[in-house]
Amino acid sequence: MTAGAGHVPGWIRLPAAVAVLFLLVPLVGVAVRVPWAQAPSLLATPEARDALWLSLVTCLAATGVSLVLGLPLAVALARSHGRLAGAIRTLVTIPMVLPPVVAGLALLITFGRRGVVGATLSAWGIEVGFTTVAVVIAQVFVSMPFLITSVEGALRAAGGAYEEVAATLGASPMYTLRRVTLPLMLPAVASGAALAFARALGEFGATITFAGSLQGTTRTLPLEIYQVRELDTDSALALSLVLILVAALTVGLSGWVSRRTVRRGAA
């Protein structure tokens, strides 16, 4: 950072400063407007507590599912070169950039009662609409791609040399995966999981379209903020602050982990 600073033309600092202000002023604005004195009591209402707790539980569950399903996919993609792998790589990132309402509609026509998968489930007596499971499904759908791309990217950058050496030394694929690949990608897993968690925490559109909004069941933190924002701006701001803090913490943690990896890689 400091080494390259001299090569940057000075004028670049002006738009850079504007960018920083543009991104930070709204966040600072929330912090300024939050009624700090009442914040604890605003966050202690049953509605707020339910929303906080529900968000925490669903996001942890969503991150868990993303790990269980997304990690194997990331490993498989990182070690494949075919056209199919390339296509899959592109396709699995689509939910990352999909407008939230579109994601919700897509899930609705898939898992909804009359959806492709939902109709079958419904025949078996399983209905996910309006349940907490629907919230988790929505969160996994939008957050798993973050985990996959982050882990796959790291694995790809690390290359397959270590695995090849392990193989020539007679290690089985399972042994190689356990003793070589997994330790290599651990930092990327940590940061990818953090990103996925943060994205799941912010999930709104797919949840409100697909899961509905009911206190304690489907009304997560963002939905609660949406619900109270026009009646009780103070509560909405206090809840928003919680979301901003958790998101900042998560992303900060993920950044710290990747920086540590880079340093270790350089050493």
Binding site: I208, G212, S213, Y226
Partner: protein, 260 residues
Amino acid sequence: MRALARLGAAVVGVALALTGCASPPAAPAGSGAPMTSPVVKQKVVVFAAASLTAAFKELATQAPGLDISYTFDGSPTLVEQLNAKPDVADVLATADEPNMKKASDAQLIKAQPTIFATNTAVLIVPKDNPGKVTGLNDSLTGKKLVVCAPSVPCGAAARTIAQNAGYSLQPVSEEQKVTDVVGKVTSGEADAGIAFSTDAKSAGDKVATIQLPGADKVVSRYPLAVTAKSTRPEAAAAFVQLVTGEKGRAVLTRYGFTLP
């Protein structure tokens, strides 16, 4: 050199386009062109409750002198947006009086609002009624009922009606917009929903409507008013006249509203 010339031409072109766009509309607005002029349409921005969508859109086709730009949303959202930027709309039409009162308390509207329509809540079910729902009774037990949140007019009405009937609502979801309630019923995701009779009407044959006893005592009254900071008060007044006049009354009735 040639590139530079091309750039210059582009700059001139953009400048021409900008001035070309900016000047003509400015002139008639300043001179106060008469409303009856068939060529110059008066622009008016209308914030209206989501349940007015279909009726107001049709009304726009019957107003040759007005260029109406609508925003349809839940009444609380509209008031909130108006509060944030009081001159963003020229007319506000909400689906209930409490929300209009909020706007009036915040001095966002001019003069007294006019009640132009009323609406009653009904129970809607998907057209084949898979849940075999018959009303606010035991037929709803274990079924998926969707209502509006208490802060939204259709939610307040639903609660009052249920309370009067001695029935305790157990919804699976509380939506922020009445159109979301209808959407969840038409998609078959929910077995039943409480919406306004107008919403049931605009959903057509995708839903079946069940009247709620006592709903006529809990009518939602729709007020409309010109905003205090309207930049086009003349056009705003013309729109109010359109809604409360003969054309407006005919269209509103056709879409399931009752008239005050």
